[in-house]
Symmetry: C2
Subunit: 223 residues, 2 copies
Amino acid sequence: MTAAADTYAPTDRTVPTRSRERASYDKALVHSILDEGYVCHLGFVRDGAPVVLPTLYGRIGESLYVHGSTGSRPLRATGDGVKAPGLPVCLTVTHVDGLVLARSAFHHSLNYRSVVVHGTAHQVTDPEELRTALDALVDHVVPGRSADSRPANAKELAATAVIRLDLDEVSAKVRTGGPNDDAEDLGLPYWSGVVPVRAVNGTPVPADDLDPAVALPDYLSAP
Amino acid sequence: MTAAADTYAPTDRTVPTRSRERASYDKALVHSILDEGYVCHLGFVRDGAPVVLPTLYGRIGESLYVHGSTGSRPLRATGDGVKAPGLPVCLTVTHVDGLVLARSAFHHSLNYRSVVVHGTAHQVTDPEELRTALDALVDHVVPGRSADSRPANAKELAATAVIRLDLDEVSAKVRTGGPNDDAEDLGLPYWSGVVPVRAVNGTPVPADDLDPAVALPDYLSAP
C-alpha cells in the first residue's frame, strides 16, 4: 500500500484556516472517528439557506450511507442518483473527549475528534447496494446486529431511502492534551486541567413486550 | 406569562416532514437541550455549498453565542454586525440517549434529543456584550468557571470573535421509549429493547504544571 492510498488529498475546503496542526487526512483515523459515532450532522442547502440535521449513518469502505424516509427533504432533493445531479452535502461527526480548563478564560477549550466530509450525495437505487447499506446502518448502531434481526421486506425497502456519500474530500481534526496556558498565567491560583468526557452504554432495557425466553445476546453483554 | 411566550412559533422550516409527533416548540425543553450540550454543529453556505463545523457555544436567555477566531471562515463572513447583513446559519445540538433495537432491522432507531435553530448570525461588536458572551461560553463548559479563571485581556478580546444567533425560528425533536415493532414481529426470536447511552465526566486530571497547592474546585467535585 502506498502512502498516498493511506490518506485523503487535502483541498481548499479541507485545509483549516486555523489550528492546522490539528488537521489530519489519515484514512485509518477518519474511519475510526466515523465508526465510533452514532449520529452525523448532515448539512445541505435548501432555498439558499443552510440546513443541518442529525441522522443515522453507516460506513462501507470509502462510502457513507445515510438513512431516511423517502419523503424526507434531503432525500427527495437527491433525485434518483441516475438522472439527478445529486445533492451537495457536508457531513460532520464529532466526539467530545474532554473539557479543557485553563487558568485564562481565553484558553478554555474542548478535547475532541471530528471528521468533516464534503461531497455530493446520491440516492442508492441498486437493490443489492440498498440491502447492504441497510445492514451497515444497523451494524453501525450495534456491530453484528443486522444478522440478528428480521431483514427489511419489500414494503419496507420501498419506504426507505438511503443516500451514499463517498469519502473523497475528507479531513479529521483532533485536539488532545492539557490546557495551553500562557507562561505568565502559570502561577495564577486557578485549577487547570482536563475533565475527561466519554459516552457510556448502560444496562440494556428489554422491551415491555419481549418474551422473557429471549436472552440478552452476547453482543450486548458486558465484555 | 402567556402560552405564546412559552413556545416558539412554528415555521415552514421548523415543522418536520415526518415524525411530527416528535417535534416540540417548548422553550424550556429547547433551553434544557441546548444547555446540556458541549458542541453545536454550525451550518452555513460557502460558495454555494454547505459547511458544517463543530464549535463551542453558550446561551444567554434567547440568544446563542458561538466562539471563534477572528480569522475563521464563518466569522469573517458575518461582517461587523452593523454594516453587514449577517450570515444565514443553521445551528444544531443533538444528544444520543439510547440505541433502540427492534426485532426488525427497519425499526431500529436511536433515542435522542435535538434542537435545530435557523437564523442569521451577527458578529458581536459591543464590548460589554462580548465580555458577557465570553463568560457564557466558559460557563457553558463548566457552570461557575468564568468567575474562577483569568478574564480575557484586551489583546485576547481583539483576537476573539463571537457571533450571536437569536432563538426565534427553533424546534426540538425528541424520541424516547422502546422499539416500535410491528405486531406480526413480536414473536420473533430476537432480543429487543433499548441500550441507554449517556455522556459521563471522568475524574479531573490536573495540568502537568499545576501547583499542587491549588485544590480541585467544588464545581468539579463529585456531588
